[in-house]
């Protein structure tokens, strides 16, 4: 069962190296079988090598984590605030685990994104690197930590957020920025479109425009030059985390946001196909955010989703009238899992419920199952009933998983 497991990420040479490293026959099977890269672990379900997205509850929702060699699509919310946060979490997790990073943006220099990475809460020791970092960070925090109940201080608090039983990934404090030394220790390649593409050649025979072509070339170059394609010896293997911001927006020179039948309808999808080809043959994992609400043609958006492996849509309440609704007072927005990949097996991890919501606490982004607040008093409920009915309707349209019934059932 374990044999075909991580064949997706690099296949041939890896397996040979694995057999070579098995010198004695008496070895614990579960651990020694996999190449151990910090921050990765084999998936419980199909043995695929997975990494954390940085948000523990998101890992749980998409079935344990992101498989190496796959692509996660995030459909941006209206102001790109929460999707940007997820991208930062994803990159910060890479910094903490010692992975290499690749950041591409057309809107702002990637260094700005890098400077805003959230600070990790390092209460456990995951890797030697984070141990050192904890030494630096630990002193100011140690002052106000509990002295009496010291054995309990590392226990997780009672949490409503979704999480798997075993710990994977780290927690972050979004109110603080990451330590500069830690950030600079990370190996990061950045791609800022205005710097890379200076002239646009109109006579281009390919489907992709100049920006996408340059980006694909640059990603390919990063993968080859840093040896993520399996050319390096097994000992120094590492994972490349690729974060691409707001693909498909007009800043990338794409016109799918501008008209319903754009001239380069296949530009983004062709790029994603090329990116998928790159990812599948290397030790890398990518997160792409797309302003889906701006894409005019739904058909194009569906094709984009199908070319990504995991797809998630964020819908924030900010600026909507639903924000004031009592039903939603605990949450900041809805989260919809659009697609979960089938990797090396017929079935995929199916969630119990697709009604999910996210909220941003003071320090942390979490995803929870959406549930209605309890109906406590008679009068209040009568007052707010039409209100709730209205929002229940909105909810069903937002999550798309319940019956598209228009009538509210009044018991």
């Amino acid at each position: 069962m374990a044999a075909p497991s991580n064949s997706m990420s690099g296949s041939g040479p890896e397996q040979k190296a694995r057999f070579a490293s098995n010198t004695t026959s008496f070895q614990k099977k579960s651990r020694s079988n996999f190449i151990s890269i910090p921050g990765t672990r084999p998936s419980v379900q199909n043995g695929q090598l997975i990494v954390s997205t940085g948000v523990t509850s998101l890992d749980y929702v998409i079935g344990g984590g992101l498989a190496v060699g796959t692509l996660l699509l995030i459909e941006e919310d209206k102001y790109d605030s929460y999707s940007r946060m997820l991208l930062k979490y994803f990159l910060a997790e890479g910094v903490v685990c010692g992975h290499s990073l690749y950041i591409a943006s057309a809107r702002e220099p990637p260094d700005e994104i890098l400077q805003e990475l959230p600070a990790p809460i390092l209460d456990d020791i995951a890797s030697p690197r984070s141990e050192e970092a904890q030494g630096k960070l630990g002193d100011p925090d140690g002052q106000d930590s509990m002295k009496i109940a010291w054995r309990y201080q590392n226990l997780p608090k009672v949490q409503t957020a979704l999480a798997s039983s075993s710990r994977f990934g780290h927690y972050y404090d979004v109110s603080k920025a990451m330590d500069t030394d830690m950030r600079q220790a990370a190996k990061c390649t950045s791609f800022y479109l205005p710097d890379e593409v200076t002239h646009s050649s109109a006579a281009e025979s390919s489907q992709m425009n100049e920006g996408y072509r340059a980006l694909l070339r640059s990603v390919q170059g990063a993968i080859h030059s840093q040896g993520f394609d399996g050319s390096t010896p097994q000992k120094s293997r590492n994972v490349l985390r690729i974060g691409l911001q707001s693909l498909g927006s007009a800043l990338w020179g794409d016109d799918i946001c501008c008209s319903e039948s754009p001239g380069h309808a296949a530009g983004l999808t062709t790029f994603l196909y090329g990116l998928r080809a790159l990812l599948r043959s290397s030790l890398s994992v990518a997160m792409v955010t797309v302003p889906a609400h701006l894409v005019q043609s739904r058909a194009i958006m569906e094709r984009v989703t199908k070319l990504c492996d995991t797809a998630i849509a964020l819908e924030s309440f900010r600026g909507l009238d639903t924000e004031a609704n009592p039903l939603y007072k605990d949450y900041h927005g809805l989260l919809q899992v659009k697609q979960i990949p089938h990797l090396n097996c017929l079935v995929c991890e199916v969630p119990d419920s697709k009604d999910l919501a996210f909220k941003l606490k003071r320090k942390q982004f979490t995803i929870e199952r959406l549930h209605l607040p309890p109906d406590l008093s008679d009068t209040v409920s009568r007052l707010s009933k039409p209100d709730l009915a209205e929002s229940a309707k909105l909810l069903s349209s937002g999550c798309g998983s319940s019956t598209p019934g228009k009538k509210h059932l009044d018991f």
Partner: protein, 268 residues
């Protein structure tokens, strides 16, 4: 395994029908399990198979087939399977500076308004080639999936041409079978979109398996429903008729179970 699907379709590896054009389609669900079913079925039946795998890597198909009891690597070495891995050759074609003069099988990736002629010639060449006599059964062409062509900017008309050529070559000339998957879109899109293509192909096919999500919404124990349309060339006066059946299904680790509507073990 897929024994239930065998009996629904009334086929078995010993009794493999010929000249069928099987169309798989899905909407709000994933029909790729049917691709794996047909791939392992035809390999078990001893057919010569040409597989155009455009969406996933070879190792993915290989790992799933392993669970279904068929080894793709062995079949490839024996010459029974010709596997085109679209993702492998794609990058070189996408990023090359100068388009090569000779027509290639993946040339459609490169230029926008091209046809799929190179790919058809590849299919023709791989199914015509006879290595060691007539060792294998009727040839089979499997495509996973046609929607990728549209995503890569090939016109719907060109895709329809390609399927028509393939059907004429494989089904009529070589007495073989063709299986194609197309992923539907929820909304009717522009001209020559996926829905348009689906209509055109439904018109041609002899057997259509249409997979959909449940109309009542998401359920953990029932993954969706499958409609089976079969064109029956009856001898009665009424001429050709279509049979239609509807099943609900659940995909397992090593196969799928099919049941009549509302008779899921989770419900009863």
């Amino acid at each position: 395994m897929f024994s239930e699907l065998d009996s629904i379709l009334d086929i078995s590896p010993e009794n493999c029908p010929q000249r069928e054009f099987i169309l798989l389609s899905d909407r709000k669900a994933d029909a790729s399990f049917l691709i794996h079913y047909f791939l392992s079925f035809y390999l078990r039946a001893g057919c010569k198979v040409c597989f155009l795998g455009l969406v996933q890597s070879f190792s993915h198909y290989s790992a799933v087939s392993q669970r279904l009891g068929v080894s793709l690597t062995q079949a490839r070495e024996k010459g029974q399977l010709v596997f085109l891995e679209g993702l492998k050759g794609a990058l070189a074609v996408l990023l090359e500076e100068e388009p090569s003069p000779s027509p290639q099988k993946l040339a459609f990736l490169r230029s926008p308004h091209t046809n799929l002629r190179g790919l058809y010639e590849f299919v023709q060449g791989s199914l015509m080639a006879k290595g060691e006599g007539d060792k294998w059964g009727p040839p089979v062409l499997i495509v996973d999936d046609l929607t990728v062509f549209l995503s890569l900017g090939v016109r719907g008309g060109a895709v329809l041409d390609f399927t028509h050529y393939c059907r004429a070559f494989v089904c009529s000339k070589l007495q073989g079978n063709v299986v194609m998957l197309i992923r539907g879109e929820e909304e009717e899109s522009d001209e020559e979109g996926s829905e348009w293509l689906l209509k055109g192909l439904t018109h041609q096919c002899s057997l259509a398996l249409r997979v959909e999500g449940l109309p009542t919404g998401y359920c953990r124990d029932i993954h969706g429903q499958m409609e089976v349309f079969r064109r029956v060339n009856g001898s009665c006066v009424g001429g050709p008729k279509t049979q239609k059946n509807l099943f609900q299904y659940k995909v397992h680790d090593k196969g799928a179970s099919f049941f009549a509507r509302g008779t899921s073990s989770a419900v009863l």
